[in-house]
Every structure is written in structure tokens, then in C-alpha cells.
């Protein structure tokens, strides 16, 4: 059982499944899933992602950015817009935004939505699963000493200036004979308010070997993934950080 915080830094928790299809993507799947879950997730929305590609202009000389739109993804939100289900071609995601409740509540929700999807879409298997906890830690000051708060941060050679404005560190740690990987990313991000320092701590546990678990073993995989994330989170923060989150003892 992990530590409990009154003011946890979690801004989003999500579980994502990428499936190996049995047949070409059936566009009626999101609609059928919506019928099954609409009591809990009544607010539907279509999300069209955009990207920017740089292509030569008409004269063939000038490079100009162009908008490219991605395949649409259906999003089904709960009434309070705190949790949602996303469905796209061979993709299912269950997201929980702030305020995050508990793993005891989030895990059954993931399993329930996954169970509904499997019956409807009948995929051949799971290509990838990820359980991800995204944390945002705000400091009401411009400058902090990272080592006071964290055990995980960039290491700068001593003959270089030790003050830096932005950083981004990522490591990938293999788990379970490299079937899974835990990607720990720690970085500065855009603060929402002036005179605030915002840090992003992203813990992303991913099953990277396709079809390496059978579907009925998903509850065990989720439990392992959650334990690994929880342990990593606690290992990376110090008591000064726990004080910010107001640990409940």
C-alpha cells in the first residue's frame, strides 16, 4: 500500500491499449462501445489531432509549414469531465484527470472498459499496454535546489555552472526480463501562472513485447505496473516534496 497525499501532484492517470486486429478496423466499434458505457460516459466528442509538416512551397524553393490532420478519435467523457474513454483504430484509452481518486477505483474502471471493448472488437491480441501517471509539481518560486526535493534530476559536471533554466531527463528501466519498461521523464514545462516553476514528472510503464500476456492476465499486469510506478515515484522524491503534497499518515 503506497503513501497517501492530501495534495497529490497527479494531473492525469491513463491506461492505454494498442490492439492487434483480427480484421480491418470497423468504424461502428466506437458507437457500439458508447451504447454500453453512456450511463457513465455520456459526453461524446470527436478529437481530430493536428500536426505540422514542412513542405516545399509552389516555387519549390521555400519551405512552408502545413497543417496535417490525424485520424479522428472518439472521446467519451463522464458528466464531470474528470474521466474519459478514448477509442480509435485498434486503440483504447481510459484517462482519469485531476482530481485523481484511488487505484482501488481506477483499476476496476480500466478492467470494465477493456472487457466491453474486447467483446465488441474481438482483437487478436494486445500489441502494447501502458499505465501512465503524469505529475505536475508547482513551486511558488523561480529557483529551487532540485536535490532538496528529488533523488532523480540531471547531473551537471562540477566544472559547469550549476544553475539552469530548463531541463529534460528520461531513462528507461527494463522490467520483467525486458517484457516491460518503465520510462521516467522529468522536465520543466510551461507554468500556468507567472512566477511559478512547474516540473513534470511522468511515470510511464509499458508492455513493449506484443502479445506477451494473455488477456485474462491483465489484472495482474496492471497491479505489477502500478506497484512499479508507485515504488519509482516514492524513490524519486524526498521528504521535502512529501511535505508539499501533504502526506496523510
Amino acid at each position: 500500500m503506497g503513501k497517501k497525499y492530501k495534495n497529490p501532484p497527479i494531473v492525469e492517470a491513463l491506461c492505454e491499449f494498442q490492439f492487434l486486429p483480427n480484421q480491418p478496423w470497423d468504424i461502428t466499434i466506437p458507437g457500439i462501445l458508447y451504447e454500453k458505457i453512456k450511463d457513465e460516459f455520456p459526453v461524446k466528442q470527436q478529437q481530430v489531432g493536428f500536426g505540422v509538416a514542412v513542405k516545399p512551397g509552389k516555387a519549390g524553393m521555400v519551405l512552408k509549414p502545413e497543417i496535417e490532420f490525424g485520424p479522428p478519435r472518439m472521446q467519451f467523457f463522464s458528466k464531470d469531465k474528470i474521466s474519459l474513454v478514448q477509442v480509435g483504430p485498434d486503440l483504447l484509452t481510459v484517462n482519469h484527470l485531476r482530481p485523481y481518486s484511488t487505484w482501488k477505483k481506477f483499476k476496476p474502471l480500466i478492467l470494465k472498459i477493456f472487457g466491453e471493448y474486447i467483446v465488441i472488437a474481438n482483437p487478436k491480441g494486445v500489441r502494447q499496454i501502458r499505465l501512465r501517471y503524469i505529475n505536475k509539481i508547482d513551486f511558488d518560486q523561480h529557483k529551487i535546489e532540485l536535490s532538496d526535493y528529488f533523488n532523480y534530476y540531471p547531473s551537471i559536471p562540477s566544472n559547469l555552472p550549476q544553475t539552469y533554466k530548463t531541463f529534460q531527463v528520461t531513462v528507461e528501466i527494463p522490467y520483467n526480463n525486458e517484457r516491460d519498461t518503465l520510462r521516467l521523464s522529468f522536465a520543466t514545462i510551461i507554468p500556468e501562472k507567472p512566477n511559478v516553476l512547474s516540473l513534470l514528472f511522468d511515470l510511464d510503464y509499458v508492455m513493449i513485447l506484443p502479445e506477451s500476456i494473455v488477456l485474462d492476465k491483465l489484472p495482474d499486469w496492471l497491479e505489477d505496473a502500478h506497484t512499479a510506478i508507485e515504488n519509482a515515484f516514492e524513490a524519486c522524491i524526498k521528504d521535502k516534496c512529501r511535505k508539499l503534497f501533504e502526506e496523510v499518515k
Binding site: 492525469e12 492505454e16 484517462n95 530548463t166
Partner: protein, 158 residues
């Protein structure tokens, strides 16, 4: 610490657009496939918002980057509109478009804050204004008033 070279699969580039924050000013042009992979794959609502703001930097010259980003974080419904606006402006000004600038401004006396889009064109003032009028009639005036009240679009012959 162990880092076996044969097992070192660099993946940090996948994170590039997400976490570039603070005041670092740089433009990194990735091949189109990188962008596609990025926007298709991101399933985090929180990170997608940051990602989309970064993508806008490929379209607009950000005059005061930190302020623009902060404003867009709290008014995220403007993000899609700004990407669509870029497409519409390009479609109308075509080869006469030099660049499009984006600036955040705040007037506390008027109790106003918002974004200013400046279309820089190589046309003289009169045809520039004609094209801006065409842009208004074709698209901008159909955009939700809530969005139009926070974004001002201007044209500047240079």
C-alpha cells in the same frame, strides 16, 4: 548504473515537443513523419495540450513566447482555432504571405487580455486589406464570438 550499449534504444526524441518549456527559444524542424507519429499517438489529455501549443510555434512567430503559452494553457479552446486560422490565412494570402506573428497583450485599464495575429505580407496596403476582408467574410466572421473576442487579426504590409 549500467547502460549496455546494445540495449540502448534512444527514445528521448519522442519527448521533444512535449517538454520544451521555459524560455528556451529554438525551432527544430522534424520530418513530417515525426509530427504524424506524435499527434496520432498522444493519448494524454494534459500532454496533448502542451504538444499542440508547441506545434503552433511551427506556424506562428511567437513574439512573447512564455506569455502566449501561459494564455493558451488557460484558454485551450483557442488552440484548434489558431491552427485553422493559419490554414485559412495561407489559403487566402498564398505566395504574398511573408510570416504570421502571434503576440499576447494585456491592458489592465481596459480589462482586456488576448492574442494578436499579425499577417505580414509583401502586398501594398490596399490589396492587403482586400485580402483581410476576404478572410473575414470567408471564415473569421463565422468563428464563435467567444474566440473572436480574444484574438485580433491584423494585416501589415512590409
Amino acid at each position: 548504473m549500467q547502460l549496455p550499449s546494445q540495449e540502448y534504444n534512444q527514445s528521448i526524441t519522442e519527448y521533444y515537443p512535449l517538454y520544451r518549456g521555459g524560455s528556451v527559444e529554438s525551432t527544430i524542424i522534424l520530418p513530417p513523419s515525426n509530427f504524424s507519429r506524435n499527434f496520432e499517438k498522444e493519448t494524454s489529455i494534459f500532454l496533448k495540450k502542451l504538444n499542440d501549443i508547441e506545434q503552433l510555434k511551427s506556424l506562428y512567430i511567437f513574439e512573447n513566447s512564455e506569455e502566449i503559452k501561459r494564455f493558451l494553457l488557460s484558454h485551450d479552446y483557442l488552440i484548434d482555432c489558431l491552427s485553422e486560422a493559419y490554414d485559412q490565412i495561407r489559403g487566402i494570402f498564398e505566395e504574398n504571405l511573408i510570416e504570421i506573428c502571434l503576440e499576447y497583450d494585456r491592458d489592465s485599464e481596459e480589462d482586456f487580455e488576448g492574442l494578436f495575429v499579425t499577417i505580414k505580407t509583401n502586398l501594398s496596403p490596399e490589396p492587403s486589406l482586400d485580402l483581410l476582408e476576404k478572410f473575414d467574410d470567408n471564415w473569421w466572421l463565422q468563428v464563435d464570438f467567444k474566440i473572436r473576442s480574444l484574438i485580433t487579426i491584423m494585416v501589415r504590409p512590409v
